[in-house]
């Protein structure tokens, strides 16, 4: 009976590599062209004055606004000051979320009764629009950084917590059994086996969490802020400074991309084994 040569462990064919080797440049070229064409269109539309520069300032105006903000700052704060204020809020919020959500999530993943306690609350607040409960946060914690950071914290907490729970439950049972047979027990099990097993998932969750928190950044800076890149955009929009709005949006987009690259390279470095699949 049975296959003369088993096929289970086929060598990975080089086809995908062969494919990837040549083409990406073409597609990157297309992407780049698309961006350039969009830029030209922008320039054309704005220079033909088809639409008022209130709606669509020309690339030159935006660039000028950028230079001006670099030089003089925006309303009493340098550009780096604004960016720094926002990133600091984000960083503090994400850090607190990570060091609370992950251990709690890991414990909840191991003990279903604990999960049963926290689940209803997390599941309830998670889908809520952050601005809805921001009202309460402002009520409780005032208009200063505390409530802003809490808002970011809460939006980052849910994805980190939920992924931690899920990730622990996905740790192969055999891996834990195997580790106990090698003498691991108690805290060693958490530190040496469960945490590293979850790490790839946790980094992915961190990416999500940063994304979600980032998307509430402007909301957080809506209330009585005087610094922050989000506040800058909002303030500019109140005074119809569309050139500054554009500058702010572009900066925010670039920062988002950079943060993502950062986390991805951390994943690449710390969890090389998750790459292939």
């Amino acid at each position: 009976m049975r296959p003369a040569i088993s096929v289970k462990e086929k060598p990975k064919h080089s086809r995908s590599i062969a494919r990837k080797g040549v083409h990406p440049y073409i597609y990157r070229g297309i992407s780049a062209s698309a961006v350039i064409v969009a830029g030209l269109l922008w320039w054309l539309i704005s220079s033909l004055h088809v639409v008022s520069s209130l709606f669509m300032p020309s690339p030159a105006e935006v660039w000028a606004a950028f230079l001006e903000i670099i030089k003089d700052g925006y309303k009493g704060e340098t550009l780096l000051g604004h960016i720094g204020a926002s990133l600091w809020r984000l960083f503090v919020a994400i850090s607190i979320a990570f060091v609370t959500a992950v251990p709690l999530g890991i414990l909840c993943g191991r003990f279903r009764w604990l999960q049963a306690i926290f689940d209803p609350f997390v599941e309830f607040y998670r889908p809520l629009p952050p601005l809805a409960y921001y009202s309460l946060l402002v009520l409780w914690f005032g208009i200063e950084d505390t409530s802003k950071i809490l808002l970011l914290f809460l939006s980052a907490f849910a994805p980190l917590f939920i992924t931690s729970v899920y990730s622990v439950q996905r740790v192969p049972k055999d891996r834990i059994s195997g580790a106990t047979s090698l003498g691991a027990k108690g805290w060693s099990l958490y530190i040496y086996i469960i945490f590293p097993s979850c790490l790839p998932d946790l980094l992915t969750a961190l990416r999500t969490a940063v994304g979600v928190a980032y998307s509430t950044l402007v909301a957080a800076e809506m209330v009585a802020a005087i610094s922050g890149i989000g506040w800058m955009v909002l303030d500019a929009s109140k005074f119809l400074r569309s050139d500054v709005i554009y500058v702010g949006i572009i900066i925010m987009g670039v920062i988002a991309v950079l943060i993502d690259v950062l986390i991805r390279s951390a994943m690449h470095k710390w969890c090389p084994w998750t790459e292939q699949s």
């Binding site: 003369a4 289970k8 059994s177 195997g178 580790a179 106990t180 047979s181 090698l182 040496y192 084994w273």
Partner: protein, 274 residues
């Protein structure tokens, strides 16, 4: 359902290794998973495993082989009955009972050497000694070159060898293997079988080896258990007639042997009949 096969010698009626010390005593072990009113998965298993035996367990899917192994490893407590290892009741997993799984189950974030050292680290063995021993066991399985690689950089067979080295490195008195080679391709599998046979000869561990592969059981074991299902029980327990006589014969020779083919046919029909 008991098939009397002339070539099989019952283990119990005629002990093979009367002179060896008993390592594991499984005494009237039964197991019922929840809900408790369901039919037991294992029903009153009695079994003694001795030093430097390599016992292969064969049986149809779902008959309880893995469940028995999990009880021996201490992962699940039996519903009734006891397991004694070297005289002491065995209740929780520890490094005296090593386990090798179907998938190598290495820790992907540790290097191969790190994996092999893991058990010793848990035991609190100081680093230099750990390094030394790890090197020894890696050499034993022919992986000295790969020591600093991460598991995902290895082939399936290499991973499985690393897993074996990792288990041996804690110096268990018994090694349990649950279909360790069933995920490997034919050629790798064969070389792994030769490896295990050699390791066993060198280390003289008591090995319990679960497999679906009749050939594998015949080629490797000194003793063969056959289990039936519903409820899981051991229906045959005999020394492998190919073993003692042919210790030195290589696999290809064995395979060509008439007795091998006959035993194979008989075991197959025996298992398929369930």
């Amino acid at each position: 359902m008991m098939i009397a096969t002339p070539t099989f010698t019952s283990h119990h009626s005629e002990p093979v290794h009367a002179n060896r010390s008993t390592q594991i005593i499984v005494d009237q072990v039964s197991l019922t998973y929840r809900p408790a009113w369901e039919e037991p998965v294992l029903d009153q298993i009695n079994l003694e495993l001795e030093q430097s035996e390599l016992v292969c367990v064969l049986g149809p899917s779902g008959c309880g082989k893995t469940s028995l192994l999990h009880i021996l490893a201490g992962y699940i407590p039996p519903t009734r009955g006891t397991v004694r290892i070297n005289g002491k009741e065995h209740k929780a997993p520890n490094s005296s009972v090593g386990v090798v799984f179907q998938h190598a189950n290495l820790f992907p974030w540790l290097s191969i050497a790190g994996n092999v050292e893991f058990g010793m680290k848990m035991k609190g063995i100081p680093k230099p000694l750990r390094k030394e021993k790890a090197a020894h066991y890696l050499q034993l399985v022919g992986l000295q070159e790969a020591a600093s690689k991460l598991p995902h950089q290895l082939s399936g067979g290499m991973k499985q060898r690393a897993a074996i080295a990792r288990t041996l490195a804690t110096d268990p008195s018994i090694v349990l293997m649950d279909e360790p080679f069933s995920a490997l391709d034919a050629l790798t599998r064969e070389s792994m079988q030769i490896h295990v046979r050699e390791l066993w000869a060198k280390t003289q561990k008591c090995i319990m080896f679960i497999t679906h592969d009749v050939d594998e059981a015949l080629l490797l074991s000194s003793r063969i258990l056959i289990m039936h299902a519903r409820p899981g029980r051991i229906v045959q327990d005999f020394r492998n007639p190919l073993y003692s006589e042919n210790k030195a014969r290589n696999f290809n020779e064995l395979r060509a042997d008439r007795q091998f083919l006959e035993l194979r046919e008989s075991l197959l029909s025996h298992i398929a009949s369930v």
